[in-house]
Amino acid sequence: MSDKPEKFIDENGLRLDGRQINEIRQMKIKIGVISRADGSCYLEWGNNKILVAVYGPRELHPRRLQKADSALIRYRYNMAAFSVEDRIRPGPNRRSIEISKVSREAFEPVVMTHLYPGAVIDVFAEVLQADAGTRTAAINAASIALADAGIPMKSLVSSCAVGKVDGQLVLDLNKAEDNYGDADLPVAMTQDGEITLLQMDGNLTQEEFKKALEMCKEGCRQIMEIQKEALRSKFADDQLAIEVPDEMVESIDIAVTLEDVVEEERETEVEAEASAEEITKSDAEAGSEDAEIEDAEDEYSVEDLEEADADEEILEVEEEPVDLIDEEAGNEDEKVATEGSETREQ
């Protein structure tokens, strides 16, 4: 653990790690890294190393936890014992329980849970190496993993934090800024700029908050581009993928639409399906859909069947992980400090 640096921003306006105040750390993304999972993502952001797996939609046990009209989302944020300087005791603690809760709530507004009544969508986010901003990194990875699992969403979710050091607002805090900074404001947003996660600690004036939110918005926009690019390079250019004819796109749209969609919801749904359909292309596991139908309640099975059909039509995309990792090595020398200041909060 290093001592508090004298200055966080040098005379040239650069931060300790050489970034501009509104520059995010380098992000590297690998999709489909866990073969048993329905969707997965490995993400490096600065010195953070995060692995996320998504399982589901699958049947939820015990049954009494099932929701009659929608799927349940479970989100588990967990830090590996070795991910920080001082070993942390494995298993959930108060910090991780809170982060799991708010992260789940960051996805509730976008995941179209009403399509999977009685099911559960499990998101497991594992922090392998922590270096400030693990909850935002995990959300970014989870967003991609959910897309990789073919789960219909109204939008991807992107997340980053703004903090304050030397009285100045900076985007995407590094470890020293996180430990010794005056404020930390993690935010997650959809592509429309709707805020799905907002936390803050430290000290900000109302004006600073306003400005910080603007910076977060810009950061999230950049991150969403990176996420989309990662998904595109994995799925869009896949040589094995057969082009979907225009008329079939429509039938896929219908397959993922609930018949009784309320008229006013229609508009948002259509947008969402566009992305859902993009996502569905990736779903090679038509087999898992079949299994699900057997378990599904009768009233829903018709839709599920249609969906499975649609999936088969879209064909099998080979689940070959495309390595997006930019070989330009990150700053390996940068010292990994502990999450201590955060973990010890009771």
């Binding site: 653990m1 108060r94 910090r95 329980i97 809170e98 799991s100 809760k101 708010v102 709530e105 509730e108 507004p109 404001l185 959809t190 700029g193 709707e194 805020i195 799905t196 996660l197 907002l198 936390q199 803050m200 600690d201 430290g202 000290n203 900000l204 004036t205 109302q206 908050f209 306003k210 939110l213 918005k217 201590g340 200041s341 010890r344 909060e345 009771q346």
Partner: protein, 255 residues
Amino acid sequence: MSVLKKDYIYNLMLKGKRVDGRAFDQVRDITLETRVIDKAEGSAWVKYGETEVLVGVKVQAGAPYPDSAGEGVIITSLELNPLASPEFEAGPPKEGAIEMARVTDRGIRESGAIDLSKLCITKGEEVWIIFIDIHVLNDAGNIQDASSIGAIAALMTTTIPAERNGKGEDMAMPMRDTPLAITVVNIGGSLMVDPGRDEETVCDTKITIVSNQDGSISGMQKSGDGALTEEQALKAVEMACEKAAELRKVHLSNI
């Protein structure tokens, strides 16, 4: 059932009304009684409408954290006692209780409300550990804000029991600020402060904002399954800071 309730509250909202007849920016009546538990070093019994919360502060000497050897320690816990609601169950705290405790804790910690350096007895060896225990006695909504004002009131009445422990003279809790949490809910696009239990159960999004004497913000937490627009977030912050200043003046100035 909750769909009916939601419709009812939503339709009232369209008419500019709330279930209990309050204005959107009106906090329920608050009564605050301090020094209610003699055995605790500080305490407060808060009635926030019908919501009741009892906060006790205990102070003990103990070891500091290695990375802040010269500073006292704050430990906040919140129990959703099963006597307070048919929905609460005994057992280890669930995520809701943990979240509320941590938001309260962050508000106090990050605002620097307590001068932790004055709680050092021997640097690196012994400091005062402040235990803030929040007992929820009746849940009629917005436990978060009741806990926050209760914790601050209890801390303001706390005496550090140095004499009893043979560590010098008793002193008052070294308070520097009075951070207060105000929760705002989003119901169908309208923002309302201090949600009652029904409003809390039907709302999509809750946002809690902890603000200080100088109007700055020291903590914030969005909670619930919905999203907020940027304008809503900014509006909520404005509302919360205003309300906090009001409550501070009425309820905390005479403790």
